[in-house]
Symmetry: D2
Subunit: 309 residues, 4 copies
Amino acid sequence: MTDDLKSHIDEAMTLAAAHLGRGRVADYIPALAKVDPNKLGFALALPDGTVHTSGDADESFSIQSVSKVFTLALALRRVGSSLWDSVGREPSGSAFNSIVQLENEQGIPRNPLINAGAIATTDRLIDGRSGDATIDEIVDFMRARAGDDSIGIDFDVAFSESETGARNRSLAHFMDAFGNLTHPVEPVVGVYFRQCAIAMSCRQLARAGLFLAMEGRDPLTGEQLVEPHRARRINAIMMLCGHYDNSGEFAFRVGLPGKSGVGGGILCIAPGQGSIAVWSPGLNEAGTSLAGAVALEHFAYAAGWSVFD
Amino acid sequence: MTDDLKSHIDEAMTLAAAHLGRGRVADYIPALAKVDPNKLGFALALPDGTVHTSGDADESFSIQSVSKVFTLALALRRVGSSLWDSVGREPSGSAFNSIVQLENEQGIPRNPLINAGAIATTDRLIDGRSGDATIDEIVDFMRARAGDDSIGIDFDVAFSESETGARNRSLAHFMDAFGNLTHPVEPVVGVYFRQCAIAMSCRQLARAGLFLAMEGRDPLTGEQLVEPHRARRINAIMMLCGHYDNSGEFAFRVGLPGKSGVGGGILCIAPGQGSIAVWSPGLNEAGTSLAGAVALEHFAYAAGWSVFD
Amino acid sequence: MTDDLKSHIDEAMTLAAAHLGRGRVADYIPALAKVDPNKLGFALALPDGTVHTSGDADESFSIQSVSKVFTLALALRRVGSSLWDSVGREPSGSAFNSIVQLENEQGIPRNPLINAGAIATTDRLIDGRSGDATIDEIVDFMRARAGDDSIGIDFDVAFSESETGARNRSLAHFMDAFGNLTHPVEPVVGVYFRQCAIAMSCRQLARAGLFLAMEGRDPLTGEQLVEPHRARRINAIMMLCGHYDNSGEFAFRVGLPGKSGVGGGILCIAPGQGSIAVWSPGLNEAGTSLAGAVALEHFAYAAGWSVFD
Amino acid sequence: MTDDLKSHIDEAMTLAAAHLGRGRVADYIPALAKVDPNKLGFALALPDGTVHTSGDADESFSIQSVSKVFTLALALRRVGSSLWDSVGREPSGSAFNSIVQLENEQGIPRNPLINAGAIATTDRLIDGRSGDATIDEIVDFMRARAGDDSIGIDFDVAFSESETGARNRSLAHFMDAFGNLTHPVEPVVGVYFRQCAIAMSCRQLARAGLFLAMEGRDPLTGEQLVEPHRARRINAIMMLCGHYDNSGEFAFRVGLPGKSGVGGGILCIAPGQGSIAVWSPGLNEAGTSLAGAVALEHFAYAAGWSVFD
């Protein structure tokens, strides 16, 4: 079976490689714009600790919005279900940074995987601590999950995120206007910009997400990181909301919970089976890695891992 | 294991029964308003043909929007992927009958499980035939799936749907204005109103949905009704869009693809395991059966059938 | 002074003629699409009955939405202030046929000069009569105002309006769904399509609008057609809402109440001074006659008739 | 005639006084919330320099959004028509602080009299200067117009505005995200919060607005403050957009260009005739002074000053 998985990965990568060069690299900050669009990496982490990789799976990239899944898990662990007073769990039906919904729904973001919702989640995760203490917790969690202390923040990216962060500041002030922010705007977006700027490889990211495939338990350390029902629900939210206004398409094609980032990374969870990270910087119109999604579609199909059959 | 399932059903029904009386029975037409709010039925159809039932599982109710799943399957079978030229497959982020999205997106409904999308799907299913021929195909399909020729349309309901159908007519004319209707409005909504008025019991409905849990093949007749990838994708669409603006909540709690109707019925697919139909007329604010969703949440949890762990 | 007005008209027409050929002729129905884009007419009706004309001022054109001003006056006369239960009087901030506002505001159109509001106004004007009796009243009113019994409906246009009227039917059904239509959809839109298809010349139209410049009284027949405060308020509504999402621009440039139609006509009221009709089929992006608005801007400026200084 | 005007004022004030106690005093900051709701002041400034007052016409109040008219005039004077690259001139069709329109229209506010538009206008007025220099220019202009150097900023109000200014900061960052802000957010909103906190009496405010009734020329100092066509156009914008989503109603009832503020003040321009300021803190649902609007409606009717007849 491991041999099968390997051949499925090879096949998926071959099919995905044909899509390299299509898609558009995110260019709103220089550090992202200069990434080579022909990169393509794949890593599959299995419950026994083995990681199968292909392509540029050991090269670090900016995880961007993939970080939202981890801060969600950490916030749920820290403040429990009260998080849902600040943020909903429905698909948004609009772009990742839309403010319309926020106005219609009185400052409560639709879900934790769009920008406004992730900012609200980060705000709750801070929970009275300093921004530095909070970002440290996030980075430490990533290192522990990946078993790799070299993981860190790309401060060049973080600085640029902050410099160009007018839209996210607008979202934060907007929620603040509705009383849905418990800390001042700057420290909150300060953590947010840094969590988005964490740099990881596919290998590290696949490994870090494994607990979500295993009912909240890290199979390698044995730690129960979040309760089983929380892991299940995080997966549900990823399935419905993980790719902004492209979530339906992703569910339709891949059939697995996932979260994409504009750095070109996608984390994909196969419940009970394993955790997959892909990376290719060229994005489709909705901001999801184009070749990455192709790789996941073919792999999930070949492995028969879609949750829908 | 069958004994386990039975006890899970019993337990789920007990917990659900505590919620009877909450929720609001749909009252926009008299035939629905007069239904006893304390009804509660449950049926689980397994691949081997056995059906486990509980409560009012043999009483007919108006399946309403649950019908959208079946017309979607029939339309895909008839016109193939060209259906997706007329209708999208993303969650809507708004109410079941919203017209705002339609205006923003030039007459293309977001998905086939909101009213506008179901009307567009019905239009494509008609495919040049008469309305009567089309509705006959739908009813015949239900009868064949359920193995029960007594299934039919409640014409009292159908007539009332048409009488109060101004909003749906508006949606149809609106799509027509954008060139996204291939037949005149009245025959299209005529089929739509009748498909919503089909009356079935939980037993019949669970049985009818079984092919979606079995990769598109009816395990009892052996017929491949839709291709495996189509069945998988219908399930994906149900998961993301099956309960209007309550789909996230349903995925979060139940973790299975499903489709609800304002008659109080919910069809729920557990891929590879079976098909479940519940019925209880009291609805939550989003129009999903309140006690029905509770029953499904507890059953899916007890059976470990959530696709997310 | 009359000589001054004549020279102002000449000057305005010269300036406007330079814009002929720009703009786009409405082409959603053949009868409008085939109109010569280089037509340009101007008529100024004064309280003493004299009419100064220039260019193609005696050629009939389809008055289209200019008719909304007259049905508004007739409806106010017939049902009084109760009309305002069915329709608001605020600018819409969106396109002439938008349905978004209607959904947000529960089926009450923003004002009587957008399509939905004009349909609701026509519905109230019908007031239990037949569609034919209602359209007869409208046409008779136009004839009496213009002192010209040759005015009539272009049935070729009316038929085409109906054939392509899906959007307007959608608006009507939508209002019906909210209980804001007192007659069935078809007779209401039947009157609406015909009122839009009335054909008049600039001379006739300027003359017909004169009562609005004279506190509701037709200075030639001596009849008080609507009460003074009603005339004043119709002018206010024209100023704020007369050109869809171009009303601010028109007020900014011309400074007079006006109503434009996609046939290229504009009726413009100079309170206490006179009534102006211009016609040129090339439209700007918001559906207002491009050269016509230029003529009005220059004439109003030269005559010093802007209400804003 | 002056005697007539006096009796019209008396009559209007009597009718308005009957509405005292209705309406709701703005309470989002303490300094506004504690204002006596029964205050009612009226001042009419005539071209010859006489000012007729009634009631609490010499008591200072927070002019709030009435300031937007003056910064508009100053910005047009400073940067000319290029202002219109940053802000539109159409009614918004939505609330004073809505962000939806901003998203739909790519960061360009609809007009200079809604919050976003006023912030953009202030940004352009700053034009590279310090915030202090800019607010000094605004205050100096008010003093010069009113002929009263005692006019100043209520810093208690300004501070509270800033403290509760999350929504306005959100709007500013949002425009910044679209590149429609030429200075950093804080200095811009710093000027904006202070201009809103200018305190003036009806007498001062009526006198200050007089140039707008006189084709841009201050009749007392003889200065041409803005060109005639600019004054005319500012009046047009006030007529169409001066009262947020209540502008249609104000035009319908009063028939004069005006601008209201949540402090309860309204400035109203009667072109060629004079300038009126009213003040009463109780607001209607749209944020316009309730009794103030009643006074204006009756005065404008009695004086025959509506521009619409």
